[in-house]
Amino acid sequence: MKYTTRFGGEQREFTIERHAEGLVARRGDVRHALDLALVGDGQTFSLLVDGQSYDVVAEVQGEQVTLQLLGERFVVHVEDEREHAAHAVAGHKQGGRRELRAAMPGIVVGVKAAPGDAVAEGQTLVVLEAMKMQNPLAAEAAGVVVRVLCKVGEPVSAGALLLELE
C-alpha cells in the first residue's frame, strides 16, 4: 500500500508491503526492512527499522495520526492511495467560507471583530477563557467577517462555531 504523508509543510510517499522476508518500506530508491509489532491494546507498537528500535504510540483518527516518539509529539496527515485520489478530486470543489470554532470548551471573554471587518492572518478574533488561562483564537487566513455567533460571558463547548469569515 502506498501512503502519502504530510507534516510541517512537507510531503513524502512511502510504499509499505509485506514480502516473504518481512515488511518492506520504500521511498524512491531507499528500502527499509520493517518489523512492526502491536503492544497490548493497539495504540502502542514496537517498530524496528533496519534493526533500529522505536517505541511508538499512535492515535489513528481517520487520516490524522498523532504520534508519540522519542518524547516528541507529531501530528502527521496520512492518506492511503484511495483517500489520496478522492482528495485530489474534492480539492477542486473547496469553497471560500472559513469558520472559527472553539478549540476547547470555555467562556468567551473577548470578541475582537464585528461583521464586515477585514481581518489579517494571525489576528485575534475571539478570546476564550479555560483552565484559568486566556486563549486567543486567531484567524488562520485573511478575510472578511461574515457572522459573529458568540458573545462575551457566554460558555461554549469545544467545536462550537464562533465566527464565520469569507
Binding site: 521511498r27 518524547g71 516528541e72 509529539r73 492511503d80 479555560a130
Partner: protein, 499 residues
C-alpha cells in the same frame, strides 16, 4: 505519637495526594474534600475519609472557606493543609481555622496578609535589608524624572502605579527617550486604569528567576534549603525548575539565604515559604514571597533528602526545626501540563493510557490515572516529573531519558517543549534567563521528520492489516478471543482441586 490526629487536605490533584502520602507515612489520618467532578479523583480514593463540598466551580467547593472549615470541624480534624493555590494564601482561611481551633499548616494570617500586599511586602523587605529592584516607589513627577533615572541607572522601566497585566509599562534605554516615554506611560496608565501615576524602576535585563526555600518554626527558628532556579517560563508560568542554580556562587547563595531568612523573621513566619528573587548581572533583587509550599518543592526534597511536608506538619504541631542536611547532586523538575505544545492551548480529554518513567533517580508526583477526565474546571498541570543525578549533566540526561519514557495518551502535554529546552545549548550551558522558551522552537524537530512520517504510515498500515485480519477471522467464524496465556490464567484462577 503522630503530631496530629487527622488533617483536612483542602486541595485537589497532585498536591492533595502529596500531602496525603506524607500524612499516611506519619500515621496521621487524612480527610479529602471534593467537587462533583472529583468524586473518583485519586486524592479522594487515597485519603482516609472524604467529604463532598459542592459544584465544580472552585467558588462552590475548594475556595469556599465556610464549607472547607466546616468539613474540617465535622470530620474531627485538628489540622488543615491548604496545599498551593486555592486557599493557601488566603489570610481569611487561616484566620477561620484559628478561630475553629484547627491548626492551619501555613504562616499566621498577618504574615499571609503582609506578603500578599505587594507594596507592603516591598516595604517590609526594604526595612529588613533585603535588596529591591532600585527605583522610586512613589509617584514620580516630571522635574525629578531625569535625576531619578540617572540615579537608578539605565535601562529603566516606567510603570503605572495602579497597573497590572503589562499595561502602562515603558522601557527606556537612555535619557533621550525618557520624557516622551514618560508622557506615553502616563497617558496609557490614565486610559487603562483611570490613574496616571507612574513610578520608575531599574529594568533588569536578562533576569533569572531564583528562589529560596525557607522553613520556620514557632520558636523563632528559621532555616533555608538552598535555592531553585525557575527561569524556564512562559506567560510567567514555570515549566522547568532546577537546583542548584548554575549561576550562583556559594557567597551569593549565602547572602540570598540570609536575606530570605531575615524577611521570614520580619513577618513572624511559620512553616514553608519561598522568597523569589530576580537575579541578573551577579546581583539579586526581591520579587515576592509565596507564603505556602511551592509546586516545585520536590526539587529541593530530592537534593536535600528531606520531606518538606513532614517538616510543615512538624512545625505546625509546635516541634522544632530538624537540622538541614547537606545537599547532594542536582535535581530538575518538569511540569506536565495538559497543553498543546505548539499553541499552549489547554488540551482536554480522557486519559486512555499512561506509561510512567522509572529507574534510578526518577520521581513522579501526579494524580493521573487511566480514565481520568481532564476538564476545564481546574489548572492544566497534570503532574510533575522530578529527577536527581550526581551532577547537572547527569540530571539533564536523566530528565531527557525519563521524558522519553513518559507516555500520556488522551491529551497533549507540554513535555515536548520541556524536552527541547533541556536539550538546548542554552540550557545545557547553564547561562539562560526567563526568555529562554521564546528562543526555542515549539514545533517538533525536523531531524525526526522522516522517521515520524514513516512511523505514521506504518501505524496506518498496521491498523488496516489488523482490520483485514479481523474481517477474515469473522468470515471464517474463528473470532479472535483472548490470548493464550490469558485464557490459561483464567482457567487457573477458577479451578484448583474442585470436588
Amino acid at each position: 505519637m503522630p503530631p496530629f490526629r487527622r488533617i483536612l487536605v483542602a486541595n485537589r490533584g497532585e498536591i492533595a495526594l502529596r500531602v496525603i502520602r506524607t500524612a499516611q507515612e506519619m500515621g496521621i489520618e487524612t480527610v479529602a474534600v471534593y467537587s462533583d467532578a472529583d468524586r473518583t479523583a485519586l486524592h479522594v480514593r487515597r485519603a482516609s475519609r472524604a467529604v463532598h463540598l459542592g459544584g465544580n466551580r472552585p467558588s462552590e467547593s475548594y475556595l469556599d472557606i465556610g464549607k472547607v472549615v466546616d468539613a474540617a470541624k465535622r470530620s474531627g480534624c485538628d489540622a488543615l493543609h491548604p496545599g498551593y493555590g486555592f486557599l493557601s494564601e488566603n489570610e481569611d482561611a487561616a484566620a477561620a481555622c484559628l478561630a475553629a481551633g484547627i491548626e492551619f499548616l501555613g504562616p499566621p494570617p498577618a504574615a499571609i496578609a503582609a506578603m500578599g500586599d505587594k507594596v507592603e511586602a516591598r516595604r517590609i523587605a526594604q526595612a529588613a535589608g533585603v535588596p529591591l529592584v532600585p527605583g522610586l516607589q512613589e509617584d514620580v513627577d516630571e522635574p525629578r524624572l531625569a535625576a531619578a533615572a540617572r540615579q537608578v541607572g539605565y535601562p529603566v522601566m516606567l510603570k503605572a502605579a495602579a497597573g497590572g497585566g503589562g499595561k502602562g509599562i515603558r522601557i527606556v534605554r537612555d535619557e533621550k527617550g525618557l520624557l516622551e516615554a514618560f508622557h506615553l506611560a502616563r497617558a496609557e496608565a490614565k486610559g487603562a486604569f483611570g490613574d496616571d501615576r507612574v513610578y520608575l524602576e531599574k529594568f533588569v535585563t536578562r533576569p533569572r528567576h531564583v528562589e529560596i526555600q525557607v522553613m520556620a518554626d514557632k520558636h523563632g527558628g528559621v532555616v533555608f534549603y538552598g535555592e531553585r532556579e525557575c527561569s524556564v517560563q512562559r506567560r510567567h508560568q514555570k515549566l522547568v525548575e532546577e537546583s542548584p542554580c548554575a549561576a550562583l556562587t556559594p557567597e551569593l547563595r549565602a547572602q540570598m539565604g540570609a536575606a530570605a531568612c531575615d524577611l521570614a523573621r520580619a513577618v513572624g513566619y511559620v512553616g514553608a515559604g519561598t522568597v523569589e528573587f530576580l537575579f541578573s548581572g551577579g546581583r539579586f533583587y526581591f520579587l515576592e514571597m509565596n507564603t505556602r509550599l511551592q509546586v516545585e518543592h520536590p526539587v529541593t526534597e530530592m537534593r536535600f533528602g528531606v520531606d518538606l511536608v513532614r517538616e510543615q506538619i512538624r512545625v505546625g504541631a509546635g516541634e522544632k526545626l530538624s537540622p538541614v542536611p547537606e545537599p547532594r547532586g542536582h535535581a530538575i523538575e518538569v511540569r506536565v501540563n495538559a497543553e498543546d505544545p505548539e499553541t499552549w492551548f489547554p488540551s482536554l480529554g480522557r486519559i486512555s493510557r499512561i506509561s510512567l518513567p522509572g529507574g534510578p533517580g526518577v520521581r513522579l508526583d501526579s494524580a493521573l490515572y487511566r480514565g481520568l477526565e481532564v476538564t476545564p474546571w481546574y489548572d492544566s498541570m497534570l503532574g510533575k516529573l522530578v529527577v536527581h543525578g550526581a551532577d547537572r549533566e547527569q540530571a539533564i540526561a536523566r530528565c531527557v531519558r525519563a521524558l522519553r519514557e513518559l507516555r500520556i495518551v488522551g491529551v497533549a502535554t507540554s513535555c515536548p517543549v520541556a524536552l527541547r529546552a533541556l536539550q538546548s545549548d542554552e540550557f545545557r550551558g547553564g547561562d539562560y534567563d526567563t526568555g529562554i522558551l521564546e528562543r526555542i522552537d515549539r514545533k517538533p524537530p525536523a531531524s525526526r521528520r522522516e522517521l515520524a512520517m514513516l512511523a505514521a504510515a506504518a501505524a496506518r498500515f498496521l491498523v488496516a492489516e489488523q482490520a483485514g485480519a479481523r474481517a477474515a477471522a469473522a468470515a471464517h467464524g474463528t473470532g479472535e478471543g483472548p490470548p493464550r496465556w490469558a485464557q490459561l490464567g483464567r482457567i487457573e484462577r477458577q479451578r484448583r482441586f474442585v470436588p
